[in-house]
Amino acid sequence: GAGVSQSPSNKVTEKGKDVELRCDPISGHTALYWYRQRLGQGLEFLIYFQGNSAPDKSGLPSDRFSAERTGESVSTLTIQRTQQEDSAVYLCASSSSRTGGGYTFGSGTRLTVV
């Protein structure tokens, strides 16, 4: 597509429920990244995909968080048994190569756990 698409744009869920966040990167972008941004704060790295593999998942905060990517395209970030501290904007970005290119970001998913 023309840009990075994330869905849903907003998600309200009850504590303890599982949620899935989706990211559709720019076609041909082999690298895909997930970041978390709490209100008014900076970006917290979660996981990085190169193709279908995840060479760096060091930022996943707990085993309740997982992510996968299929076909060098769509990625899904899953949060199990959501907690209130999971409330944040989850940003996805993609880039065209591993040559230091800048990111193209999606608009993010605002997750609210009540």
Partner: protein, 113 residues
């Protein structure tokens, strides 16, 4: 580990004036890339400008320019002729050829009419 520091949490500038946002970073690498991103209240993060460390010439994109001082590990952003639409949070970021970018904590810029 690489770190990126933005020492100005908030700044303001009058419309049409010039403002400079500061960024310093720490790395032992010789080849790397530096970026400034803009995040307006709409939340969409946009790449503003990019600098390659091996290039001595400072990058420029219209009203946006950088002052890259490699020895000092400094990478400041200058916005000339500030416009109301420049109001946003600005993030400095660092990347090598090996995966994720490291971001600073951001500077909230308000352009006043």
């Amino acid at each position: 580990a690489q770190t990126v520091t933005q020492s100005q949490p908030e700044m303001s500038v009058q419309e049409a004036e010039t403002v400079t946002l500061s960024c310093t970073y720490d790395t032992s690498e010789n080849n790397y890339y530096l970026f400034w991103y803009k995040q307006p209240p709409s939340r969409q993060m946009i790449l503003v400008i990019r600098q390659e460390a091996y290039k001595q010439q400072n990058a420029t994109e219209n009203r946006f320019s950088v002052n890259f001082q490699k020895a000092a590990k400094s990478f400041s952003l200058k916005i000339s002729d500030s416009q109301l639409g420049d109001t946003a949070m600005y993030f400095c970021a660092y990347n090598t050829n090996a995966g994720k970018s490291t971001f600073g904590d951001g500077t909230t810029l308000t352009v006043k009419p």
